[in-house]
Symmetry: C2
Subunit: 326 residues, 2 copies
Amino acid sequence: MRILILGAAGMVGHRLVDRLVADGQIAGRPIATLDLFDVVEPTAGQGAQGIAIHRYAGDIADEATVASLVKDKPDLIFHLAAIVSGEAEADFDKGYRINLDGMKHLLEAIRAHDGGYLPRLVFTSSIAVFGAPFEDKISDTFLMAPLTSYGTQKAICELLLADYSRKGFVDGVGIRLPTIVVRPGKPNKAASSFFSGIIREPLAGQDAILPVDDDVRHWMTSPASAVGFLMHAAQMDTSGLGARRSLTMPGLSITVAEMVETLRQVAGDDVAAHVKKVPDATIQGIVAGWARDFDPARATEFGFTADADFADIIRQHIADEAAKAG
Amino acid sequence: MRILILGAAGMVGHRLVDRLVADGQIAGRPIATLDLFDVVEPTAGQGAQGIAIHRYAGDIADEATVASLVKDKPDLIFHLAAIVSGEAEADFDKGYRINLDGMKHLLEAIRAHDGGYLPRLVFTSSIAVFGAPFEDKISDTFLMAPLTSYGTQKAICELLLADYSRKGFVDGVGIRLPTIVVRPGKPNKAASSFFSGIIREPLAGQDAILPVDDDVRHWMTSPASAVGFLMHAAQMDTSGLGARRSLTMPGLSITVAEMVETLRQVAGDDVAAHVKKVPDATIQGIVAGWARDFDPARATEFGFTADADFADIIRQHIADEAAKAG
């Protein structure tokens, strides 16, 4: 089996590669080749045994680049490449180029192959396809009404994925990821960055800014769950999906106050005291348009599972950091 | 006021031009110029007094062509140009070129102008953005899940219109037209063509094929109502729309059997007898995925109104044909 991963240098992509290398197989078939692509050359999968790993850096908005990646007909493609919401909002053209044109090039490159080529394409969409006003718990039949260009681009990609799948050009599954918490490393340009920051920085002994009110509620999952979603989407039976190829992934609906309180319970008062309230009107405005809670019935029906509780998410992060520190 | 109409040679476009010429003004401002564009040169507006009418033929998928149409900064733009569902399904590339790339070129041409240019853009979307399974009455918060490439293209255009409006590049309103009945003239390539055929042909003394079951229910409006929607969308206060820029237009939910029975009541047994049942599995399959009924609460709230009953729609068609026969 040959697997192509677009966006393999990102946090989730890197973990996905680690998982694939560790498993050595997927859907009962051995993994022979991993083609890893990103805007910078991915470093994941170092020292893998028995799997040929190719690493590429390039621009996903370049049609010829994408065509060359699909040249050898990968059986399975993960498309995780995107610029984040804050950057897509600040640079309108770049957002559409990377987040929309990249997907179009990929779908067209797949379609351009002769008949009989029908790869599974797992696409990471986002709950940013939804925008306020919401239902209390957003159902699987709620409208996509994004309030950001990033959400718009993801929603359009979902529509394209469904149409290309319906026409038999690709076997697509879109997974709408919750906000991923706790992201390791440094803050990024996503407006959601603080959701990780208020856990990650205190655990590292540093102050973290909380820019929104205590009662802000949001939909979250751990990095490990996100990789689990990708693995399941790659192997699931898609015949029951019909024309609705994208699914809201399960997650935890939790307030910022509950996050900090859970941090206190898991790591103590001194750690939790590192969270400093510094209201930021811009971030508050963006987050006010975000989904608070979902009923991910369809994803559950199709076998996707997520974290049990937020304490577990924090403990996963602590264990991951301890493993890195060796 | 300068008005640009893309798709001015189509049935609705032609009627819209007639209406604008007859009114001579819109939103309280006199109409100085009408720029009419289509794939063939539009003929509407012959003999108009006091309005400069320019007619253009071209390819809406050509970026430079669209940019040239927007060069003189029209105050109001109607974008009605599209290829129909059957053709978009048969020719995948052509559908995306005309129905999606055309819209993108238009939005980009508007955005390319310097600050301060914010035209009203009225875009004709379609209830084909929805796909089965449905709610009994489709609400304004139901998901877009198209079952055709045409519906996919319209849904993507709605998302782009909303994002460009949200960013302040255009003042967009999308109107999801019901199936328009009775279309004059000849059958077209739309799978919905028979909805008009079973009224139009019998009234002209000709047999008409009914390819679906009697109990097929669908959402319809008259050509006059469609023009009314466009006129209202051009003049309405858009400040209350927020980021949800597209509205399902009001219509009549009626079965094929009720259509034929109304034809019998309005025009007599001999006319209704021209409807011949010839089941067509392909058309039945397509129509089975179409919306049956809506609750167009939001459009009603924003002041859109439609036909009172189906007998009125038939009488409008009879009067239109009598006027043509002169």
